[in-house]
């Protein structure tokens, strides 16, 4: 069972390589952020698989990673907005 979980985690890691390609190529900054979110969610998946394979206390690591991915998107939205206040409703 642990070998199955760890091999899944490795496969997930390879799929993140595809996301890295999008980070490199992405024409728009938003595309790069999409790839960053993909890496964040994929990372959560990998950490959960390793948590199941080895030690359950790694679930907190996945929780923090999911949180940081969300905060990164908020930071991106704030940085991209005109006066960096980041209020999406403003014109």
């Amino acid at each position: 069972m642990t070998s199955w979980l760890i091999s899944l985690a490795v496969l997930l890691l390879l799929s993140l390589g595809g996301a890295l390609w999008r980070v490199w190529r992405g024409p728009e900054p938003a595309d790069r952020m999409i790839a960053a979110q993909l890496i964040g969610t994929g990372g959560v998946g990998i950490v959960l698989l390793l948590a199941a394979a080895t030690d359950w206390s790694m679930i907190d690591v996945a929780l923090v990673l999911a949180l940081l991915a969300a905060v990164a998107a908020v930071a991106f939205a704030k940085a991209q907005s005109a006066d960096s206040v980041g209020d999406p409703e403003e014109e």
Partner: protein
Amino acid sequence: MADVVTYFMTALGLGFYLAGTVAVIRFPDTYSRLHALTKADNVGLGFLIVGIAFQADSWMVVARLALVWGLALMAAGITAQLIARTALQRQSP
């Protein structure tokens, strides 16, 4: 029995993850990629978590797994809105 469910669910979750990654690479424009990312990844994460939950040895672990998935779902919804608005402001399609 629990192992069989875990094998099947985690494989399904990985399938959705791969679909999400291929979608982010192949889709034509920003918004379709954003749509694919938010949907595919969270379904993949959900199946993964259900698969792993069968391996849990106590209910506390299952509760924490559900918490991670809930946070990921909420974060993905809000994140997709933010990124889409940011992309829209920069170049209206």
